[in-house]
């Protein structure tokens, strides 16, 4: 059957450059976050961060491409696509902040020369980053920028799968990208959602999120490759409870999970593990915990990848998926030692050990600003 089969991937997070480096870091559990000082007026705002490994926050104007290009090269090389296949492939870019880091750097530079300089005089088209990426790698297929906050790259995969299933394309390059920028950092600071001591999803001590960065790329195709992983179901729904938080009663979270399972033709007993969105914020964890408990009578091993790489926003759809797939292909589930080790006030516990797992189906949750809720069902059997 024509589905989005995973053919090759690339990943750069705080855990390392390349998918092997990221996989190698998982057994040890989540690392400690760092801090990034952000100048603001006469002062400095200290923000908890998990920045890209081996890529210092310098020369911001070029840093995005220094992160993104190697990851796309890694994915394309691993996929084995021929130049002709690549040329006709579609591009799906999922990102929340796109290249705003580049725009910020340009504006900061312009202000040094002219205090009346205006921002966003270049790089303003929503599709501009995808267009540049497409041209750099010689893709001539359709390009889609999916801008649905923290569900962006998860939704990108759903659309790529739909176009493959319908025979509109044979291959797609899906990219998830989130690069540190001041708007996001101080925006979340203003929302009082940043946690200095790391992310502890569903834990009674949860206090919010850590700003993460990720560049992730996945080449998918209509026919299987060496990996047996493919998307077998997905759903995206809009929760109009609030623009920045899911309905805490869990009904809208449960609805999107149920629709994804139905799309996959599976029941809850078929799911080997659930990757939670797990932002470690008070309200969103409450909503997700309630939703998971409404859907599952017996909750399978529960994973949360944000403690490992921070909240990578529009990139988390793909970055967290690649981490889960890499671990599952190694026959293991990532551990979260000491985080939600036992069920707390929300009634959920996270997987604690580098536990063995067989082949089968996995459910992945993603929720974003704008009431955007997405669940994916992957399988490698």
């Amino acid at each position: 059957m024509r589905r989005a089969w995973f053919l090759g991937a690339g990943l750069h997070t705080t855990l390392g450059r390349g998918l092997p480096a990221n996989l190698a870091a998982l057994p040890a559990g989540p690392p400690e976050p760092g801090f990034t000082d952000v100048p603001l007026g006469e002062g400095v705002e200290r923000t908890p961060t998990m920045l890209l490994a081996d890529l210092p926050l310098e020369d911001v104007g070029t840093r995005l491409w220094r992160a993104l290009e190697p990851v796309v090269e890694e994915a394309i090389a691993a996929s084995g696509l021929t130049p002709a296949e690549l040329e006709r492939a579609a591009l799906f870019l999922g990102s929340s902040s796109l290249d705003v880091s580049v725009s910020e750097a340009a504006y900061a530079q312009d202000l040094l020369v002219d205090p009346d300089a205006r921002p966003l005089m270049a790089n303003v088209a929503m599709g501009g980053l995808a267009d540049t990426l497409r041209r750099r790698f010689g893709l001539r297929g359709p390009d889609f920028t999916v801008n649905t906050a923290c569900t962006s790259s998860a939704n990108a995969l759903i659309y790529a799968d739909a176009m493959i299933a319908e025979g509109l394309i044979d291959h797609a390059l899906i990219v998830g990208l989130e690069i540190f920028n001041v708007i996001t950092a101080l925006g979340f600071q203003s929302l009082a959602l940043l946690a200095p001591n790391g992310m502890r999803p569903f834990d009674p001590a949860r206090a919010g999120l850590v700003l993460g960065e990720a560049a992730a790329a996945l080449v998918v195709g209509a026919a299987p490759g060496p990996s047996r992983f493919r998307l077998i179901g997905g759903a995206n729904l809009c929760d109009t409870h609030a623009v920045s938080a899911a309905n805490p009663d869990g009904t809208t979270v449960a609805a999107v999970m149920r629709q994804a399972l139905a799309d996959a033709g599976l029941t809850t007993s078929d799911i080997l593990a659930v990757k939670a969105h797990g932002t470690a914020s008070l309200l969103n964890d409450e909503a997700e915990a309630a939703g998971i408990q409404q859907v599952f009578d017996d909750i399978p091993p529960l994973l949360a990848m944000k403690p490992f790489i921070g909240h990578t926003f529009g990139a988390c759809g793909l970055a967290e998926l690649l981490l889960v797939c890499a671990a599952a292909e190694a026959g293991r589930l990532p551990p979260h030692p000491g985080i939600s080790a036992t069920p707390g006030d929300l009634g959920l516990a996270l997987n604690q050990t580098w536990a063995p797992v067989g082949r089968g189906a996995f459910l992945l949750n993603y929720f974003g600003f704008g009431g955007n809720n997405t669940s994916l069902v992957l399988a490698n059997d």
């Binding site: 006469e42 006709r88 202000l111 303003v124 088209a125 999916v146 509109l168 001041v182 708007i183 995206n236």
Partner: protein, 282 residues
Amino acid sequence: MTDARIAGHGGYLQEESGDLTDLKPVVKEATGQAVRRIGRFISLALIGAARCLGGQTPPPETAVYFTTGSGDFEVTVEVIEHLFRDGFPPKPLSFINTVSNAACFYVAKQFGLSGRSSCLGSKGFGFEAALQLAVLDLKTGVVKSALVGSADIVIPPLDAHRKRLGQPPGAPIAEAAHWLWLTADGEGPAVEAARFFTTRADLLAWIAAQDFDPETTLLAAPVDLAETSLTRRFDYLMGQPYHDSGSARAAGAFLAEAAPGERLVHIASDDEGRYAAFTVRA
């Protein structure tokens, strides 16, 4: 596969050349109520969607496919100026609204929708991208009802904004929102196809395979397509002020003038010779 029936269409197009039009009364007139704490971008999305629906109530599972050339310039410029020029942190709601899909949220909330919600972009093919995915979802049964639309705002000073848009000094520019309500079932006008083509040869082969009747088919295309038999032109952009998502207006403009049975073939292209096409049957 069924066509995507056009159950409604409508929008807003206003040239801006000095003080910007006050959108609050327009929002109130279109939606029947004042909507608090929204800026121009979300206002335009609501105006376009409300005029498209024309007082009808879409099913709650209706999906939203939304595109914009550059998103919410107003709030993004405000936030970035506060941060870098003035040294203030962003206001929480302003920060949240820098995410362009906030407009999808307000459209869904206004009309009680809980279906799929997507903010989509593609340089040169933004509306075509949104329409293609909506039509795909309708034809495969993933959704039964879809709102597909655009919003593009203008911010002062206008000369700086023209520069951002790549327009020459003094060029007419507009704020605009154009929406279609598509359903999987029903009779009447329809979007028959929405396709992307990697090369001109692919486009021409597709046009030839459709066997369009030159007598009843109008062609809207910014490029010469002399190889086809389609000689009747439909130029809905002539004399109109510039806005990024101009092609989102094509279907509505065509349906306003077309006789039953006439068909529009709309072609967009980029500087690399890639093409996107959609067809509308009146």
